[in-house]
């Protein structure tokens, strides 16, 4: 039950952060650029965001292992 709650919290956080970052990257005010292109950008952006998440996670865990006082 606890693990499931934490998994939901993590997924929610990921959805919120990826939405905010990909919206900012792909949609620019006054939002009249081509919609199909912008939607395509959101898809590639999500792939990039997941890869960034993995890269950051790796770098952070490596750092924690080398310097436990972080």
């Amino acid at each position: 039950q606890i693990q499931q709650d934490l998994a939901v919290a993590n997924a929610t956080e990921l959805v919120n952060q990826a939405t905010e970052n990909c919206f900012n990257l792909c949609m620019k005010a006054p939002y009249n650029e081509n919609l199909a292109e912008s939607n395509q950008c959101v898809e590639t952006c999500l792939g990039k965001y997941m890869r960034s998440w993995n890269a950051i996670s790796q770098a952070y865990v490596q750092r924690l292992q080398n310097t436990p006082d972080v």
């Binding site: 997924a11 990921l14 959805v15 990826a18 939405t19 990909c22 919206f23 792909c26 949609m27 005010a29 006054p30 939002y31 009249n32 919609l35 912008s38 939607n39 959101v42 898809e43 999500l46 997941m50």
Partner: protein, 70 residues
């Protein structure tokens, strides 16, 4: 049952309201650059409308994209 119902409806209304607060703050920042007139220009109005719709498009695409990954 009545009180449960009442709480559910109030809670759903509150969730919508809090989303409106969040979207307004974000889209106002992106769309409004001039504070000298209390009326919204049609360009500002259009921008706010597109902003919230594009944000929701992005959110849906992110949620679907993450469901496909799992």
């Amino acid at each position: 049952r009545d009180i449960t119902n009442f709480i559910e409806i109030e809670s759903a209304k509150q969730k919508v309201q809090m989303s409106v607060h969040q979207f307004t703050s974000m889209c106002f920042k992106n769309c409004v650059k001039d504070g000298s007139n209390p009326e919204l220009s049609s360009a500002e109005n259009q921008c706010l409308n597109s902003c919230v719709n594009r944000f929701l498009d992005t959110n849906i695409k992110i949620v679907k994209g993450l469901q496909n990954i799992q």
